[in-house]
Symmetry: D2
Subunit: 307 residues, 4 copies
């Protein structure tokens, strides 16, 4: 299998203004090496988060962009997540002073900031669990925190989840699932990174179990099909990820776009609205990033009834 | 088993200012008859929603208040949901002009309102499914949309989910689970109603499969234990329901209170924050009511590790 | 002039479930004595806010309800604010641990709360200014923080601004202006209190210069005219106060209702929408209460062009 | 005076990835020609908004970037707005189907979109007023809707107001006032455009009176002074513009940063928080863009008391 490592600096933006690091054919299996969200700068619980932030150019270093041969503006990129392996024997999480779901931050400003930060190092134990101590001990349930194509004109921070995918932090971006992303630039300019060894819904404190990874992917192109927001397909479910603030706008986007998807199966708009009222699922992927992400889901067999 | 039917009018507020309809002993099993959210006024798809709204005094008619013997301000009421049976052979849902998750409404005002409304009647078919047509056909997965104690001083609309429980529209208020509510008035003044035959997460269009029901409950009192927000316990999980706007504030409340609950098991605050980041679940119960409700969950065996 | 003092306890809810303290005729001038938001319990900067909160039954004690003769459900109450005089020689403000615009609070929960509280006492100096020190020294610009009728069925906390008026904290509820409130109960059940000696837009830290006051009012009834949200009329401007969360919903309500008001002058809906885009004003009255309040304004001479 | 016209295409992003169109010395007066938000494509009320959107590459075409000689990352750019003249004899506004404060839009999705759009053309009349008809007739009160430096790494849509300034739509970006912007790239990469002949607070329907303009500016550099959010200085007031969603986060940023500014004059943090509670002003600049903008203000003589 073809192995791709980042050339030069990792990217801190999802951007068309960067030279692709490789060209990839649809159907080709590629293994990408990704760095962790801390750029590998945290190695011990005695390290200093402030110093780490000063050293790195930005958060969430990305591997990419990959130029996907044949992808044209207006197509949809279908990304098969085939496998994710750890690329280090430990993962890192941290509670930050000025970032997190229950911490004052850049957007939700408070008169006081938190007084302390804390680093958690998790090492794989003999049972393959990531262990900090007897209580903080978790299984390996990896997914890619960021997965994106480049936007049309903007270069977006790799902290941002949006129409192009990005930092959605959805645990459903995992092996066995398919991610659909809009192609807004010829070649798609694909990025991924920010692997999480495990993460709950919301990514509450702002950092999951961050770890460098080897992710195996395969791309397909759906010609002349335009989607507006990222979609995910699991063996059983169709999902849309909406990312916005406040969180209810993210929820509205996710469900409104899932209705659009159901209409592709022949559903009438109002009936799809009615159906998702009764059987839709709606969870929070992140409550910490520049936009919040909500994931709306429907069972495939239900959605396909109309076909 | 003791059967309780509403005396006089159903209540449209969660309120201490109403005379209790019955006194109930802790440990006693009671079967309550509840009316549907439309006050039983919608019987056919040709009925008129506008007329229904004019006829009823308010939404979500409640059975109650029950005076729970021995409950004192500062206690916690533990409500075992034992069983829910339908009390009619059909359920009703509707898309409203001025209410719903993707509809302009009282709060999210728009220059235009929707032009049409639509009623959906679902009848139990021979397989026990609720059937509108071949596509809109759902299993019986009942829960109580509203379950509440009376607030200290306020009388709150039965559309409102808040610290006292209320219109949370959480599918986890179902048979086999336990709901914990704060007691803010001697006797607790318990209300329930608004049974949903089934509902997805978010209650997207604003009305689930609404149906009158017979709900069997048993109460316990936890003396001198004060909780701030409603808690739910399933066989496997601990949950807190936070209700607020915007939705991220509901999420913050749910997780902040779940941290408080974990601290009762011996968790340190920061470690609980870290733990829920990795294994917490967070879904939207309603995105349509006066406050949005988010439910944060943690697996019981995980939370109890510290004990 | 008729002087009205609270009988029995001040109210901590806007509620129809309370016995009126007086009956007032339309056209009659009445002087009401109001208590400050701290119930008069803070007298020195060495007092303890925690203790104050324990002692009082609730925030924002209200004088009322007044039964307004002739007011019937479906009318509008027109309240002329004639005069406000201080009823004490000092005012009090405070920075709270768990309340305020830049402080974690009941809704916007954080993992840490603020560590300290601070009381500010302002005394009238010889120039009639309220003086804490050389820098914190403000003129007397009084208004009523709360002004309300009772809701139809609910009893709402006196911290809450809503359709019935309430805790809007709008500096435009001042002498010389008129407040319009919906009548939802026969007799209107009028309340006022929470006088602020001065306050900026937003009431940033959550407490203005709180002071007991003597407020002189006169009531009129507009028969069979139903308004949905509170309106204010100054000599030059028409205003609507929208109260909701998130703040954009409050803004939407305020402008949507101001469009309704302009339509009473003959404006077409779209043209009013266009007009307010170019000449509307929109300020934040409070960013700290249970709902945020936004005030939308239009110049009277502009709005009346269509007449 | 030096006149600068756009070379090549107008920009639809605030971006460092674009070649500067001119180099400007601090102290030099320059007159920039700017295009209107519709790229000049709307000339009549019979034009078609849909077609206009298809033709242009993006919204809010910008003149720039200007390379400001001597500006280095970490400095602050001080922009004197000297004059704004119309560059056409009419202005254009429009009500859009899928954009606006009371219209379903990309973020606040609804099941139905508005059914109609409407264009308003305003021509200068003999009194210098912009006149659509007898009722929709407004004075010339021009300001620049967008004014920005380039962000560090991102390229942001010209619809976006953020830390770098951008599409704030604040009527205070007007002749006689000074705008302070952070320099995040050597040369600052300055952009401006989107002149509004007049606009109310909030820019309710999403488009003010849009007009091409000639704007005269002068730049100064404050060396080694880093500001985080844009500041505005009028002859009487200090202001900060916070842009975020939900709107309360924009308000929090604006006031939190105004406290920071007051601390530069010697104020203690808590005392500044207290002071702005009593005398701060807080209005909404836009309730329609990708982020909402709130402007917090304090009187200069008040803020400078501590100096």
């Amino acid at each position: 299998m073809r192995v791709i490592r980042q050339k030069g600096e990792y990217s801190h933006v999802f951007s068309r203004y960067i030279e692709p690091i490789a060209k990839v054919e649809p159907g080709e299996e590629v293994l990408l090496h990704t760095q962790d969200a801390f750029m590998g700068l945290i190695q011990s619980e005695n390290d200093n988060l402030e110093e780490m932030r000063r050293k790195r150019r930005g958060p969430n270093p990305q591997t990419g962009p990959l130029y996907i041969e044949g992808a044209r503006t207006g197509d949809t990129l279908k990304v098969h997540i085939l496998n994710i392996e750890p690329d280090r024997d430990f993962a890192v999480s941290a509670v930050h002073k000025f970032f997190g779901g229950l911490t004052p931050n850049k957007y939700t400003r408070m008169i006081n900031v938190a007084s302390s930060e804390k680093i958690y190092i998790y090492r794989f134990d003999e049972e393959g669990m990531l262990r900090h101590d007897d209580f903080l001990r978790f299984p390996w349930k990896p997914f890619m925190g960021t997965i994106a194509t480049a936007p049309d004109l903007e270069a977006l921070s790799t902290l941002t989840p949006f129409e192009n995918g990005g930092n959605m932090d959805s645990p459903d971006v995992k092996p066995g699932n398919i991610v659909y992303l809009p192609v807004s630039v010829d070649g798609a300019y694909f990025f991924t990174g920010d692997c999480h060894a495990i993460q709950g819904e919301g990514e509450l404190c702002g950092t999951a179990l961050e770890i460098p990874a080897k992710v195996t992917l395969k791309f397909e192109i759906i010609k002349s099909k335009k989607i507006t927001w990222p979609r995910i397909e699991s063996p059983d479910e169709y999902m849309v990820v909406g990312s916005a603030r406040p969180m209810e706008d993210a929820a509205r986007i996710a469900y409104a776009e899932l209705i659009e998807w159901m209409m592709e199966f022949g559903w009438d708009r109002l009936d799809a609205y009615q159906a998702l009222t009764q059987v839709g699922k709606l969870y929070c992927a992140n409550m910490v990033d520049t936009y919040y992400s909500m994931v709306a889901k429907v069972n495939k067999s239900f959605a396909e009834r109309r076909r």
